[in-house]
Each structure stands twice: as structure tokens, then as C-alpha cells.
Subunit: 194 residues, 2 copies
Amino acid sequence: MGVVLYPGFEVLDVFGPVEMWANVPDFKVVLIAQKLGPVKSAQGVSVVADFDFEAAPALDIMMVPGGIGTYAELGNPVFLDFLRKQDQTTEFTTSVCTGSALLAKAGLLKGHRATSNKKFFSLAVSQDSSVTWIKHARWVEDGKMLTSSGVSAGTDMALGLVARIYGKDRAHALAHVLEYQWNEDPTQDPFAIQ
Amino acid sequence: MGVVLYPGFEVLDVFGPVEMWANVPDFKVVLIAQKLGPVKSAQGVSVVADFDFEAAPALDIMMVPGGIGTYAELGNPVFLDFLRKQDQTTEFTTSVCTGSALLAKAGLLKGHRATSNKKFFSLAVSQDSSVTWIKHARWVEDGKMLTSSGVSAGTDMALGLVARIYGKDRAHALAHVLEYQWNEDPTQDPFAIQ
């Protein structure tokens, strides 16, 4: 599975899910960006992209994080093309926070149900009005598309995907080892807006 | 504030706290390692150290993460010396997961109360028996030393430190923006062992 990074991504959007998924023995997590090498986060620290878009393997699971850098990528056709290309063969396409605005802009959420960060909800909505945008959700599963609410909600979605593939017991066991209190009900959302 | 990385660190140990702290306007977070540049995590992905030990600034807040690489650093006098040197002038010295084993090995927890990862608790205990090791705790504050339990508990400790400096309302507001359900009581520990 691969995370698609861009300058100004939010660190916990990436590393909550990476922590959960990398601890599943069958999963291998790689970081991908338009350019190989260090990518600077919204928090100022940098992480290393293992692959550029050309060298990236076909992903079984793709994850698009959010962050302040979302605004710039909404206008980056190379980035959006990469999402479209990968989505053709993914088993699951997922996002955290404003990552769903990027999936929507790429046209990948057309007619689907989805959610996004509560503080930037209108950014997601304005990308594609054919999406049923759900304001009250920790995360939303619609077919192969899993979109989560802001930042920390991504970790819960990541465990939701583990549960979807391997069952809830496996997800609970993983959360327990990592001492994580999983919010396992995607419809429970204490941060929902009206 | 600075996070001291080493090969084989656990990603969520680092990026849960970094997410919380980097979103406090007065905090600047830097990543430090013995060698400048990419440091490979236990999860296989790499992050970039902004400073090596020689160039690192004096830290107001130091954080030492855990991870499988802890074992190697317990035998690395250069690493342990760096922790001791920084601790002389920090306002707070903190750890997540098995990071407390490294603080203990460096002699920085002598006579203090502290906690550690539940799955590797004996590793911490065996470093310094003068420490009062607390098995039932999400995190432990003893003077300027804040140590947390495994992985995800670090995020709760990080908000605990924000509360300590700026008050609980500020920590709650930060958690709310990041859609994080803060486990705010450090004595509540659903993962405690007997």
C-alpha cells in the first residue's frame, strides 16, 4: 500500500494509518511523491518519498493525506492524473482529512458517499457536488472508497480497513498492541458540525 | 522542542506528539539524530533529521521515542551522552513507549516515577531499579520528566504537556481542531498489565 505525499501534508494524517498498516504482516507501506526524496510537511519536518510517480508500483491500497498543501495540489494536473491512474487498479482508495478534496477533484468520488475534515468541509464539497458529503462521520466506506474526517480520524479509518479485510478481532488486537483506543464505530463523531 | 531519532524508531511515537506540538504556535519542532539526513523507522519509511548531535540546538523540550531500535541505542554511548547533555538544560524531558528505557539507561530517571510500553515493560525496568516503574498509567509526570506508555499513549502525553504549560482548555481546543479524542486522565489505562 502507498501513501501519496505532497509538500504541506499533515504528519498525523500519514503516520497514524502508516503505524496501523505497517504492523499488519501482509502489508508493505511505501511513500510516494511527484519527486523522489524529502517532502516537507505542514509541521515543518520532512519525510522521504521512496518512489516518484513514474517509478511507483501499482498499489493495492492508495491513501491520500490532507494538509495545507492540499490547496496547491488541487491545481496540479500531474498529481491528479497519478491518483486517477492508480485508482484504476487499487483494491481500496482511501483518504484522510482534506485528502478527500483531492480525490473529489480527480473525479474519483463521483456519485459516492464521502467525508472530510470538519474545518475545511466546504473545500471538499466545492470540488464535486455529485458526491454525497456526510458531515457526521468518523469515516465513510462506500465500495472501495474509504474517506475519513480530520487528522486523527484517519487512524480509526485505517483500523476500519484492517477490520474490513481481516475482521474486527484482528483490528482490535492490533489496536491493543499499539495501545490505541480505537473509535470503531464510523458513525460516532464527536466533532460533527451541523 | 526536539525529537531524538534513531534507526528503528516507531513512527506514531514520533508523529502523534509532533502533530500536537507543531500546532502550538509558540513551539518549533525539530528532528535530531546522530547523523544528519534520512533515518529509517521500524515501519520501513524514512524521515529526515534536521540536525546531527553536534549541530543540535539546546532543547527546551526533548522527546525520545520508542521502537525496535531501542535495543541498539541502549549500547550506544554517543546516543546516551547526547540525552544526558540535553537534559541538563531542558525544561521538560519526555519519552514515548520504550524511549523511557533509554532515559533510564542514561541515568535520567534515577529516583523518579515513570512508565513504559506494556509489551516491553521489563526492558525499561531492567535499566534502572531505582525508578518507581508504574504499570497502570497512560503517562506519568514527575517533575520535568514525562514518560508515556506504548505508541498511541504518546499523543495523550503530548497533550498533557500542552495542558501543563498552557492549561487544560488549550489542550482540549487543540485536540478538537485535530479531531482527536484525548484520553486526558493519565491514570486511566485500559492496556495496563498486572
